[in-house]
Each structure stands twice: as C-alpha cells, then as structure tokens.
Symmetry: C2
C-alpha cells in the first residue's frame, strides 16, 4: 500500500522539512543540507524514503542529483482525503475547504 509509505514518510519532521524546502524550489542534496544539522547519509536516506513514497523525484545532473517535489504523492493524499469529504464541513473553526471534480 503506497499510502503506508506516504504517511510514514511524512510522519518524520525532518523529512517534512526537506519536503518543504524542495517545495520552495528543487535543488540537490548538498544544497538541501545547508542550514540543516544533519549528516550527508541521513539526508540521502530521507530522500530515498521520500522518493519511494512518490513525494519527491530524483534526476541526475552530472555529479549532482536534482531533487524536486513529485505531485503524485500529494495527489494521492488529496485523493485519500476525499473519501472523508463528508466530515470536512464539520470543522470547528472558519476554515473552508472545497474539493470538486474528484468523483471517480
């Protein structure tokens, strides 16, 4: 089940931080590492987890590897969320969420 991988990948705060950085703009592992107190192997392992979860995409560019957000993973979360659309309007505060055209 891919959902296992996606949710598990996002359960780690370091991984969410990496993902957030990538969402602001794709970059290689070294660039990602800057400002994060983490070892090189750790970043590499996290990126592997994110990639397997289809949240991130890897592409070799010479001796660098460019990492970018993979919309596939996000779409799968959105898709999962729509199953429980019935509960969204019951949100306590004033958040308004609308999802349409996903009746497949």
């Amino acid at each position: 089940m891919i959902e296992d991988d996606i949710f598990r990948a996002l359960a780690d705060p370091t991984r969410r931080a990496i993902f957030e950085k990538l969402a602001a703009g794709s970059m290689n592992a070294s660039a990602l590492r800057k400002g994060m107190e983490i070892s090189q192997p750790a970043i590499s392992q996290h990126l592997s987890v994110l990639t397997n979860a289809q949240l991130v995409r890897a592409q070799r560019k010479g001796r660098f590897v460019n990492y970018a957000v993979n919309p596939e993973g996000l779409a799968l979360i959105a898709q999962w969320l729509t199953k429980y659309r019935a509960y969204w309007p019951e949100r306590i505060d004033d958040l308004k969420i609308l999802l349409k055209d996903m009746d497949q």
Copy 2:
C-alpha cells in the same frame, strides 16, 4: 508537532482501516472489532493513537465508548496540503483537484 502524530497514525494500515470504518458511522470498540482479526488491546491501542492525533473522538456511553471521526485531524491534513497547492496542477493523470477559500 501534531502533524507527526497525524501522519504517523495514518501510516499504519490497520489504523486507516479503523478510521475508514468509523467514517462510515461512529461505533464502539467492540463493534469496530467485528470482522477485523485483531485483539481487543490492539484495537484499544490503535484508537488511543488515533485519538491523540485528533483523527478520532471518544465518548463514554455507559459501559461502552463511542468512537467517531474527529474532523479536526482531517482539516489539519487539508491545511498542510494547501501549503503545496502550487504543485497540484502538475498531476500526471486527469485528476482534478481544486481548493479555494483557504487564504488565511
């Protein structure tokens, strides 16, 4: 970080199955257990995790405890998703996802 709890809670397939059952209608732990090959303590522990993640609500009804979906958790996921709204249109297949009125 509540996101840790939410994503971790959903990373387990048994927990997602429990959540899905509750989404179809609130019920107590015994009813939930029916049809699931799982021990009573296991269900209880899973429900505890889901409750802590604000995905589920517990309410005593005599000697039963009624469990129901807590929209709060779902809303937090939706909220998290909106941060990456920019990437949604890039979805490969024909899935159409639209989110509006969440500019808070």
